[in-house]
């Protein structure tokens, strides 16, 4: 079937239309038709645009594959947006393998998650508001990946940030959620600060070299003009390349939750679970990896910046994996594993294997969306209790969810079975992780002071792969296996401690200040009266319906169907895309622009990588099963005092989040006070008061002339008159004597 390329506008337009329908008609329809039928109709109207967009995306991708490998990029312009004399910024999209890959992930996974959400959110009162935000998110995300210039990228970048904020705070009446949303937004602002600076620097660099462009023209902010020229221009100025690359990476660090800006992502789990799956695992957080792929020319020109990227990626992967060991909230475990996997992607990108990063984005989208949706199903079945210590043996009650989540678990752990020859059949995560490690270990690109940093990042990554398998096994085993159904065992005790525990996690230990309202010590959100009124209105009602008699029930078909689809993708997706280097040849058919193939390849010499990665995955899983086979160890139970020091500090993020928030809030306050003292009081007030003081000083001097004695005035008048007369006489004399 042939399809016009211009139908790409429908891919962006349909979610936008969906957003408008939800926003404008949603409440009316639900009110008019009753919640049951109304929600069904509005849910369908939310899923359909994304699904149709996905179909269009598939058709365009198929058409794209029919073209020659090197010529698969096409620019479509909708209208001229900014038109200056020497700069045109059209509203244009770039259809190329990279953008279409992202489009397929976003719309494909997005459609599945929308479908899931129609079931998950079915009891939600503000059903249409949820889908309104979700559709808007898809539209912005598509603008981000499809846009053909930095300005459009920035629109999408900020738009998805906004939607992320709105969805994290979807249940905004709960203070913790509102705080999490604010945290996400503010931390992302820090990243965006770097990103905008990087973009400005790139714009300034381009503007300074306009005369050296191959084809001078006003469209010099579009990718198809920037990057071919940047290859030649940046070669001569590696310093500029490093600066631009590092600043853009700061933006990627914010959006993709890299150390030290990862702190927003675990808190973002306050949003509904479909949001965690779609935005905070599968799509939005991978925007940083996408950005680095988009601007890979700049990173290729700067080995130093790439080494930095690999370092940050490796450290984030390790740090988040360690934290995951101390988490009891199932969504938190998945959140830290997302941070850790994003770190993997940046190891690959930093080592120069940009396609490996994108490959992991793709497979991670499959299995992490699956894991999150599965966790959502578990939470849904367990009366919204998210503590893994209250789970156990759930495979008996949730067979479909359990089976699909096991696939997800094995996929993220990177399980594979070797076959004769030098290959292995494995789950999706195995291939992408192995490729990343291969690129890193064989990397001769990311260089800093003569050291191939990526190699060290690769070894660290291999260790983290082991840890990943271990903590994911912990999560899966505690949830689905074991002999005990722990919510029946010690629920009262468990719940009491659960609350305490959650408190210690969620509120960043601000309680230590000793304020009355541990919830909101800085009074950012509510005044005292408002808090009191809320407390009175709600009472001390906690929605813990998880009683010992609770029987979990398998979720609706609309919820398990996406799970099954994602499980199939996690099972075979990696193999299909890996075979014959399909993914690499799709994204980078002609190799990279500056780097030679021998500098970046996936086959490190002298390292039995295949066996090492299989051993890491298998070893982690087997060790995990051995560890948790007998159920929940006492050292991880409800009683926090029995926990080991490592787990307790891991559960507390090793104090990092606490320190960052304290430094941000208190340090920010101290800095603001300092600035006020120096700048406001010193400079601004100084100028204003200085002007006044100077004027008064002059007045004081002039005042001495006003004696009040009439006779002295008369004398002055006389003197003045005589002087004036003398001056006139002088002028007259000169006039007479003059020419």
């Amino acid at each position: 079937m042939d399809i016009e390329l211009s139908s790409i506008w429908w891919v962006i337009g349909l979610p936008l239309i969906g957003f408008l329908i939800q926003a404008l008609c949603g409440k009316i329809v639900v009110d008019a038709l009753g919640p049951k039928l109304g929600k069904k109709i509005m849910g369908t109207l939310a899923v359909l645009p994304i699904a149709i967009a996905f179909i269009i995306g598939v058709l365009i991708t198929v058409k794209l594959t029919g073209w020659d490998a090197g010529r698969r990029d096409f620019v479509l312009t909708l209208f001229d947006w900014i038109t200056l004399k020497s700069l045109h910024v059209p509203f244009e999209v770039l259809i190329d393998p990279l953008s279409m890959t992202m489009v397929l992930i976003i719309t494909g996974i997005g459609a599945l998650i929308h479908l899931y959400a129609t079931g998950y959110m079915s009891e939600e009162k503000e059903y249409t508001r949820f889908f309104c935000y979700l559709n808007l998110f898809i539209a912005f995300m598509l603008v981000l990946v499809l846009g053909n210039n930095l300005v459009m990228l920035f629109i999408g970048w900020e738009g998805v940030g906004l939607c992320s904020y709105l969805l994290i705070g979807f249940w905004y009446k709960d203070l913790a959620n509102a705080k999490a949303a604010n945290k996400a937004f503010i931390v992302n602002r820090i990243g965006d600060w770097g990103m905008t600076l990087g973009m400005f620097l790139l714009v300034a660099f381009m503007a300074g070299n306009l005369d050296k462009l191959a084809e001078p023209g006003p469209r010099w902010l579009s990718y198809d003009v920037i990057f071919p020229n940047a290859i030649a221009l940046l070669k001569d100025s590696p310093g500029v390349a490093t600066a631009i690359a590092l600043l853009l990476f700061v933006g990627a660090m914010g959006k993709s939750a890299q150390f030290p800006l990862y702190i927003w992502l675990p808190d973002a789990m306050a949003g509904p679970t479909p949001v965690s799956a779609l935005i905070h695992a599968a799509t939005m957080v991978t925007a940083g990896v996408f950005l680095l792929n988009r601007v890979h020319v700049i990173f290729e020109a700067s080995p130093v910046a790439s080494a930095f990227v690999a370092c940050i990626g490796a450290f984030t992967a390790l740090f988040a994996a360690l934290i995951a060991f101390g988490q009891t909230d199932i969504k938190k475990v998945l959140a830290y594993s997302t941070v850790s996997q994003l770190g993997f992607m940046f190891i690959g990108v930093g080592a120069g294997g940009y396609w490996t990063g994108m490959f992991h984005v793709t497979t991670h989208a499959f299995f992490k969306a699956l894991l999150f949706l599965g966790a959502g199903a578990v939470i849904h079945a367990m009366a919204h209790n998210q503590d893994m210590r209250n789970y156990g043996r759930l495979i008996k009650y949730l067979p479909i969810t359990g089976a699909t989540m096991i696939v997800g678990w094995l996929a993220i752990a990177g399980i594979a079975i070797p076959y004769s020859g030098e290959g292995a059949y494995g789950f999706a995560g195995f291939y992408s992780k192995e490729m990343i490690l291969g690129v890193a270990l064989g990397g001769h690109f990311a260089e800093w002071q003569g050291q191939y940093v990526a190699v060290w990042a690769g070894w660290l990554g291999l260790f983290v792969a082991l840890l990943t398998a271990l903590y994911m096994t912990r999560m899966t085993w505690l949830t689905f296996f074991g002999k005990e159904e722990r919510w029946r065992l010690a629920p009262a005790e468990g719940h009491a401690h659960h609350d305490e525990h959650a408190h210690a996690h969620d509120h960043h230990g601000h309680d230590a200040h000793g304020h009355d309202h541990g919830d909101d010590p800085h009074r950012f959100f509510y005044t005292d009266e408002e808090l009191e009124r809320r407390a009175q209105a709600e009472g001390h009602e906690h929605h813990h319906d998880l009683t010992p008699e609770h029987t979990p029930r398998e979720v609706y078909p609309s919820m398990w169907f996406p799970l099954v689809v994602l499980a199939i993708l996690s099972l075979i997706g990696g193999y299909v895309l890996y075979k014959g280097e399909l993914f690499k040849n799709w994204l980078y058919p002609e190799g990279l622009s500056l780097l030679k193939p021998e500098m970046v390849h996936e086959h490190p010499a002298g390292v039995p990588l295949l066996w090492l990665s299989i051993a890491a995955g298998m070893g982690g899983v087997i060790a995990g099963i051995a560890w948790y086979f007998r159920g929940l160890p006492r050292a991880e139970g409800w009683d926090l005092s029995k926990w080991s020091v490592f787990r307790r500090s891991a559960g507390n993020q090793f104090g990092f989040d606490h320190a960052m928030v304290e430094a941000g809030v208190d340090g920010g306050g101290a800095m603001a006070r300092g600035l006020w003292r120096v700048f406001d009081v010193g400079v601004i007030d100084g100028v204003v008061n200085g002007v006044a003081r100077t004027t008064r000083g002059f007045g004081k001097l002039l005042r001495l002339l006003q004696t009040g004695f009439v006779r002295s005035y008369a004398l002055l008048m006389l003197v003045g008159g005589v002087a004036l007369l003398g001056y006139f006489l002088y002028l007259m004399n000169r006039g007479v004597g003059g020419p």
Binding site: L702, R703, L704, L705, Q706, T707, G708, F709, V710, R711, A714, L715, L718
Partner: protein, 114 residues
Amino acid sequence: MTGVPLWMLLALGLFMFCTGAVGVIVRRNPVVVFMCIELMLNAVNLTFLAFARYSPSPMLSGEAVTQSAMAGQMMVIFVMAVAAAEVAVGLGIIMAIFRLRNEVDLDEMSAMQG
């Protein structure tokens, strides 16, 4: 033309003006100051009249000479009128101040001091 020469009239005017100016500056009684101002005004008047009498412009002739002389004399009438008005107002102010403060020493009237 006979009679008093021009320089004598001008010298008298100068003497009167200087006397008046010095009087205005050194005396503290406002009435005397007023008299000194009158002296200065009359010195100017005398000068006007002297020039009107003796020194028509060499550029003029016929009727224009008469008009030029008349201009000087008219100026004197103006000055007298203005001086009369000024004395009327000034003496009124002095009376008001005297009623208010029971004295009219100029140096004591320094309320406008800065």
